[in-house]
């Protein structure tokens, strides 16, 4: 009950707060929502199924590039482009999952990294299509095919919020379902789930593809937001950033990773404004979080709540 109440307050805040923000702040909040969604998608496999991936940027990047390329070079139609972006991300994760999910642990990290690098290599090297290192500029805000344009900052924010809330709700349903419970069971002991008769590979595979599609959705949103995509969004740095977002927020909690994603985006903006050494700070965040806050913000909050109740 309390959770539902807190959720309702959160939604109302997200709906009302932007009305009082400057356009810069509004843009920042939009970006926070997009990256929060990206972190939540990785959390589905990392936090719930216990499958680490160092290549999650692949699906984000495929979504972003698909939408960008279609909108710029083929046809600027929201439904067509957005749908194609989701489909491309889903097909990519379905393909990569076949190769990657035979491994676990460190091997899984390496293989997902290597597979994402294949795409990075294509985006980087295939200049005439993707623009190579310079990236793909000029992606318009969604408008064509929709009843009204999402060109304005506020309209686009509400569109992102709608997608974010819809997919958060979908993820909430998934993790509370018997399917989600089985994923947690696999995380805790895959062997036991096998003995109980679960076809664990199939559960992991479905989760992997689902996470890829949601990551693709965040990539779609991002390319509309940013108007531009470059190979950086397929790179290991971006994949690792998704991991630290999840851990910082609290892996295996529904909203922790969203919080982690929002915090990292906020920090990047604030710190980059004051120093050129953002990457040093980001590196320190990796070191400090893994050493001192492995359970993340949510873990911290939960421990405090438990302490107060006891």
């Amino acid at each position: 009950m309390r959770a539902v109440l807190a959720g309702a307050v959160g939604v109302v805040l997200l709906a009302v707060v932007p009305l009082g923000l400057s356009s810069y702040q509004l843009g920042l909040l939009t970006k926070m929502l997009i990256f929060a969604l990206f972190a939540m998608s990785l959390n589905l496999i990392l936090g719930y199924a216990g499958l680490p991936s160092l290549g999650h940027a692949a699906y984000f990047g495929v979504g972003a590039y698909t939408v960008g390329l279609l909108a710029v070079k083929v046809v600027d139609n929201f439904w067509l482009d957005f749908g194609a972006g989701l489909l491309a991300a889903g097909v990519t994760s379905a393909l990569f999952g076949l190769l990657a999910l035979r491994a676990r642990g460190a091997y899984l990290l390496m293989i997902t990294l290597a597979l994402a690098q294949v795409l990075w290599g294509i985006a980087f090297g295939w200049r005439w299509l993707t623009g190579g290192d310079d990236g793909l500029p000029g992606v318009p805000r969604p408008g064509a095919g929709l009843p009204w344009s999402l060109g304005g900052g506020l309209a686009f924010y509400y569109f992102v919020l709608l997608v974010f809330l819809g997919l958060t709700l979908a993820l909430w349903v998934v993790v509370r379902s018997p399917f989600g419970r089985a994923l947690v069971g696999i995380r805790e002991s895959e062997r036991r789930m096998e003995v109980l008769g679960y076809d664990t590979w199939r559960y992991k595979y479905v989760a992997f593809v689902l996470a890829g599609v949601v990551a693709g959705a965040s990539g779609n949103l991002f390319v509309y937001y940013n108007g531009f995509v470059s190979p950086a969004y397929l790179s290991i740095v971006f994949s690792a950033m998704a991991l630290i977002m999840v851990i910082l927020g609290g892996a295996g909690t529904l909203l922790g990773p969203a919080l982690g994603g929002a915090v990292i985006v906020l920090l990047e903006n604030v710190i980059s404004a004051h120093t050129e050494r953002w990457l040093t700070v980001l590196g320190l965040i990796y070191v400090l979080v893994t050493l001192f806050a492995p359970a993340g913000i949510m873990g911290f909050v939960r421990a405090r709540l438990r302490g107060r109740l006891a």
């Binding site: 680490p52 642990g105 990294l113 597979l115 980087f124 090297g125 851990i247 990457l279 050493l291």
Partner: protein
Amino acid sequence: MTFWAIQTLNGVSFGMLLFLLAAGLSLIFGLMKILNLAHGSYYLLGAYVALSVTAATGSFLVAAAAGTAAVVGLGIVMERVFLRRLPHDELPQALLTFGFLLIVGDVSLAIWGGTPQTLPKPALFEASLRFGPLVFPSYRLFVIGVGAVVGLALWLLQERTRLGAMLRAAIDDADIARATGINVSLLSTGVFAFGAGLAALGGIIGGPLLGVYPGADFEILLLAFVVVIVGGLGSLKGAFVGGLLVGLLDNFGKALFPQLALFTIFAPMAIILAVRPSGLFGAR
């Protein structure tokens, strides 16, 4: 004919550099199950320190020693002070080392700047060698020689010495090794430091060929990963064969299909993964 000979030589010398990195990466993983993403930093830092020391002293040997020593020091601190505090879980370990990768890269950028620089070759290997119509830079032959010597020494160490036997025992089963009185803790620090040193050496002798620049740490790390994925994690032979294979693929890829340069490395890797997930020489 000349094209093939020169490109093969270039590919083999680059493959030897990759071997120096992959060997350390593979040994560290074999013994400690740590995926050390900071390995690229060791390469970069070794080269940058050597660059500064060369400028100050003019001696390649002193510079090589200083670069290697600095990186070995960093490796020991990372292993003793940081990685030991983490639970035995691959993800936090990998993320911690990734933090170091970011920090070392960014701090190096602040210290040495963003302009690509080249380490001067040692004077002894400035010349080129002639074989009939073929002209080989002798420095590339030197790099190949270093790789071959390191490979042979490592193989002898692992197969023929008491230390090597202890190492193999600890890789096989650390708990049992500990129970028989092997100091696995010290061995781990030693292997970590040694692997870091090899990577630094790679950066130092690679510096005159490839240059030193921001981002070289990531580039070499990713190629070294391809090497261990292709060759198999934890296998010295795999690191050697994989290094050669990736070095050659990279060179011929860049020469023949410049547009698809990276693809020519990652695509064969994906195929090997599909057929043999544990790599060519991986146990498992």
